[in-house]
Amino acid sequence: MAGFALLPFMWAVNFVWFLHEAFKAPPYPEQKQIRTYVIVSGVGASLWLIGVIVWVCVFQECRSEWGATADYLSFVIPKGVP
């Protein structure tokens, strides 16, 4: 379930949850593998976050310019603004 639309969010949870295990816990054989996964999850989640922020900014800036397309993409159309 979580893997479908919310995969990047899952990565973020993964990153926070295993942070201690990967870096702070006393060393054990599987730790290296965990560490790789945690780092990759962290990078993926931040890329996704940056992507979302950029998209929101672009969409808000260009919403009125894009006309009909933007209206069809909107769920809530604000009142009283072009």
Binding site: G67, A68, D71, Y72, S74, V76, I77, K79, G80, P82
Partner: protein
Amino acid sequence: MAATCVRPSPLTMFWCYCFYITTFLTLVHGDRVMNKIYVDIQGDMACFKRFNGTHEIGCTSGFYGNSGVIHVIQNQSDLQWVYDKGPHKPYVLAIPPQFLTPQVLKQAEDSGKVSGIVVMVEENFNPQVLGEFSGESHCPNSELDLYKASFPEYSGYCEKNPWNPDGTSFLFMSWNFPVFLVDNQTSIDYIKQYYEDFNKPDVNGEPQPWPLLCMELNSNMFGTTNTEVCMRRSNLAGSQLHHVNFCDPLSDRNILAALNPMNASVELPEKSVTVVAARMDATSMFDNISPGANSAVSGLVTLLVAADALNRHKDAKVESSTKNILFVLFQGESWDYIGSSRMVWDMARGEFPFKYQENLSDQMSQINLTHIEHFIELNQVGEGMRATDSLLFLHTDPVSNSDPQISSETKKLLTLLQTSSSVANSSVTLEEVNAKIPLPPASFQSFLKKENISGTVITDHKEGFKNQFYQSIFDDYKNVKYEADGGASDRYHKHISHVASALATTLYTILTDEVKPITVNETLADTLLYCYMQNISCEMFRKFGEKISPSFFNEKPAKMYVSVGENNGLTYLTEKILAGLVGEKVDLDSDSCKVTSRYSVYQLFYSASIDNGTCFQSTVRGTVAQSPAFSIEGYDWQSGEYSTWTESGWQMTGLMIYLKPSVGEEVGLVCGGVVSVLLSLGVVYFMNSRADIIFGLPTPPAAC
């Protein structure tokens, strides 16, 4: 010491509680803090937004309203003071109507110091001091003009000889601040008095210190940009969870009545119907005020009175005539001919007054453009009074009359109107306007776009409008010189009656080929004029409108604005009054007097308050008056073929005044509040931690 403890009886306790509660309620008076700060003043007449295919017009406030320091303007120097000197921006200008001009508003907008405008119309204001004040352009409805595209030799006429010389195009401008109209004297006195007390600059023109009187204006409009955008958004929002009415098409109902019943089972001969038309709508820049005394009521009442007279003189010859008269009242004509263009569109596609119903014997005939013999339109006829008689003008269309057959029919009609006027002894002179001059803005134009029809537009003006206040708040009973208290000495209702009499006499001859003077009911004319122009709470309106909500009857002039939706109280009322005038009373009680089908030749209307319950049977019915643009799939909004006007939705409009202290005082208050909260927290913490010392309480025994 042993305390004697007497336990009170339950009854005593009950009385004690009652005592406490009553004392509490009488001593404490609860009121919201908001009501102690703000005073609401009349705020129901806001300038609002409308849209067409390409533009937005009107005004809006911000989402949370606009506020500013009130400055009452009496002359030009007060305005200059605000722009040059006023240190307390933003300002809300309270102006008299003389200052409601595009120039003043433009200057206010450009200054960047104005956040709103309130127009104060005092009870004793005399509109005659105003210069150009008509909200319309020089050439009303010119975008949909008959001559615009196809007939270049006539299309330039209006630019050289404007039909509306007092036009300012004010209606069609867009402002980035709210504008309100206030005509309630108490509200105006509030503003003026507190302005004198707090805001008025001293004798040297120095500004007053805080606190100052401020105003908040709320008129946030939901729609923006143009009809295409806001209709798209309205449709999208309609399909989602939360519905927002970004905008709605201007629409209502046209009203029609056939003199003789038209049954679909009897074939309607070509060129047998004479259409007698008037418009029933006017407009202004503000919500809740659009009197339209000359632009709408004059023609409307003339038509009603003529229809009543003709109906009373309906004899065997009229009933057996192959000709017929169709009385039509158009809605929304002020906004690019909404009603008439819809009727023509319906006729052209063969769905007028509705789609033909198979297997239904009792239904009204289909009418199309070729059935129309003549078209007689009563346009503005209110200002045709002269010292002892009346002078009106007959306008004709030069294009359709280039066809010799149409031309001879038109000539016959004009001659008939003129002779009928003298037959009816109505003291109305009907003068033909030069046949080369194109038609003034009129519903007839919508018909001529599709079909050449003989006809005329009757007006009080030969060239430019006589109506100085066309489509403005001052096109009221004073504008047409109506004196309601004058009774028999009032000349205006006689003028309207005379015009109606000349018209009814003409129609009688059209039907029967015989000449017979038709007298009209002057009292009816007076009553109708009074009801529409001065007081919609009059007895007649109350009787016919018993099913309308009581809030409709507010002792004010009728609001002639077309508005949105099809439940306009005034249109309903007009329809029922026409039904009462041209219908016949039938012996049915309230249960059986019900319309069984909207297609039926006869429609029924029951009123309990007329003669202890009356059932009227008439041919009066309504048809949709909404621009075809909203019914045509994939209509190109920029094409300019049909009206595209829509009105923005809004929550509620309102005006509030309040006293605003200086910034220092405001900051001090907030900081004081924060400090006292922190202080009290500290005190409570301190007292709690040392409760045993302060209150001398023994330490509670440890739990076992």
